[in-house]
């Protein structure tokens, strides 16, 4: 469990704090999406989870270990793996397998153990065939999979994704997301910072931040039913949820649980069968005829 208590953070020389007395508990096996407008402090917050940043006030603890405890910081960084936005900024090795070996090497594991972990991690992300390649020659998606392999080789319990998919095409994005889903099912807690609302819809829980504070923390269906509030924050709900909301505004009988395209299609088809939407189509046709 990651426990954040009364966390405040102020960058040196800054007027106002980036994070202000923020508290949050991230449980085992959860998939939490962290959203909020640009500059709301999402990245600053997640950098506290593995001690890359230290709280100005308050405490962050991972499985009971405070990130302020210098002797436990390596253990904390093993448990909390982190993937950053730009894959080029996180590759250290000269070859794919060397890069994956960087983390285990820092733990001073025996070469045999490193080899086993590297093989396992590369197998898990599907890059085993590219192990001798120069990381620079990989595609953007492959680079992020490589970053993921580098983290998996550390055997993490928590996986922090700081907008790692924003520069990827649809296919690579899906590939990484599917892998994250598999990891989640294996019991790894996922904390996913993102602007992409379709990615957010995959989460069990959404934490919304604004101006350094948490302004909402709820299930996706509950968050996305507050469409006007989201829009006021500068965020947009996923397209299907927006569609459902617009239909609801027109009086259609659609519940707030619509988050994915699949659910939207089902809900609209259900409407047609109950006749809830037929009437309006009828009216429209008459209108057009009148013109």
């Amino acid at each position: 469990m990651i426990r954040i208590e009364d966390l405040s953070h102020r960058f040196q020389g800054a007027q106002s704090p980036v994070l202000e007395s923020l508290s949050l508990v991230l449980g085992e096996g959860e998939y939490v999406a962290l959203i909020g407008p640009n500059g709301c402090g999402k990245t600053t917050l997640v950098k506290h989870l593995n001690g890359l940043l230290m709280p100005t006030a308050g405490v962050v603890s991972v499985d009971g270990m405070s990130t302020g405890d210098k002797r436990r910081i390596t253990e904390i960084r093993c448990r909390v793996g982190m993937i950053f936005q730009d894959p080029d900024h996180q590759i250290v090795g000269m070859t794919v397998e060397e890069d994956v070996a960087f983390g285990p090497g820092n733990l001073r594991l025996a070469p045999r153990e490193i080899r086993a972990r590297v093989d396992r991690a590369l197998e898990a992300v599907g890059l085993a065939g590219l192990r001798h390649r120069h990381p620079h020659s990989l595609s953007g998606g492959e680079k992020q999979l490589l970053a993921l392999a580098g983290v998996l080789a550390m055997d993490p319990r928590y996986l922090v994704l700081d907008e790692p998919l924003s520069s990827l095409d649809h296919a690579s994005r899906t590939r990484v997301l599917d892998l994250v889903k598999v990891l989640k099912e294996k019991g790894i807690t996922v904390i996913h910072v993102t602007h992409d609302m379709d990615e957010v819809a995959r989460a069990d829980r959404i934490v919304v931040m604004d101006k350094g504070r948490i302004v909402a923390d709820d299930a996706p269906s509950r968050i996305f039913s507050r469409v006007e509030w989201l829009k006021a924050l500068g965020l947009a709900p996923p397209y299907p949820a927006d569609l459902a909301w617009r239909l609801r505004c027109r009086g259609a009988d659609i519940g707030a649980h619509v988050l994915t395209m699949e659910q939207a299609v089902n809900a609209i088809c259900a409407l047609r069968q109950t006749g809830g939407i037929e009437e309006r189509f009828e009216e429209k046709r008459i209108d057009e005829g009148g013109l």
Partner: protein
């Protein structure tokens, strides 16, 4: 700039799996021989280098492409010696006061030979050793300098990161250049001076971009539990009898080069 990391191509020959330490020592010994040994020893060294090249399946074309960048330098050395060394004048060559002597010709050839072999020594090492294995070999060989307060681990990691950042740096220059070109800068116009000035305009944004990049890289390294000091490596370095033989022979050859 392309050189260092484009040289190695993974082929899985036995030479490439060899421990990097004997290879580094052998290349160093070969360099010493190139620089100071007499012709008989030079012939032996050339044969040894040829054997290594054959073992690594590096054909004459690859070898020549390695020497090519140094070719102008080698030609200048040859010409300078061929025409300046005093001695018997062969009847068939020479214009006015510029005459090629037999001794000069001989000396020029030897020097060109030495330098080509020196370049090849480096090339053979780089072409048969993955950069990662090269740096871990260096790290092991440099461990004694820890007595001077320098951490060979940090040194090795530094070299790896430097090598790793070269292609990234190249991309960064390219994207900055394009950004400037999109705003009307012309990198192709004018003489060398004008072009140099155009490129010097990239220096500041490039340094800024690099610092930002390094900052992020350091954060990513810390996130993967990097904490300075000793690390372990994917490749286990262990010396077999064969490696020891190579090391001993190389050290002997290196020492002999001072006398033969």
């Amino acid at each position: 700039m392309k050189g260092v990391f484009k040289v190695y191509e993974h082929q899985g020959t036995g030479l490439m799996r060899l421990d990097p330490r004997p290879k580094i020592i052998a290349a160093a010994a070969l360099s010493l021989v190139c620089l100071q040994s007499g012709v008989p020893f030079l012939v032996l060294a050339t044969l040894a280098a040829a054997a290594v090249a054959a073992g690594a399946r590096l054909g004459p074309r690859r070898l020549f492409s390695a020497v090519r960048p140094a070719l102008p330098f080698i030609v200048v050395i040859f010409v300078l010696h061929a025409f300046s060394v005093q001695g018997d004048l062969p009847r068939y060559f020479g214009v006015g006061p510029v005459r090629m002597t037999r001794e000069g010709l001989f000396e020029g050839i030897i020097l060109a030979w030495r330098f080509s072999l020196l370049v090849l020594a480096g090339f053979l090492l780089l072409a048969t050793t993955p950069a990662a294995s090269l740096t871990s070999g260096m790290e092991r060989l440099l461990r004694p300098v820890r007595a001077l307060g320098i951490s060979s681990h940090d040194l090795a990691l530094m070299v790896t990161l430097a090598l790793r950042l070269i292609p990234t740096l190249k991309d960064e220059v390219e994207s900055l250049r394009h950004a400037e070109m999109a705003r009307g800068a012309d990198f192709a116009a004018g003489g060398i001076l004008a072009r140099g000035r155009a490129f010097s305009g990239l220096a500041l944004p490039l340094s800024l971009a690099l610092f930002r990049r390094c900052d992020r890289l350091v954060a990513a390294m810390h996130a993967r539990a990097y904490d300075g000091g000793p690390r372990t490596d994917l490749h286990e370095l262990s010396l077999f009898a064969r490696d020891r033989v190579i090391i001993v022979l190389s050290v002997l050859a290196g020492l002999a080069s001072f006398f033969v």
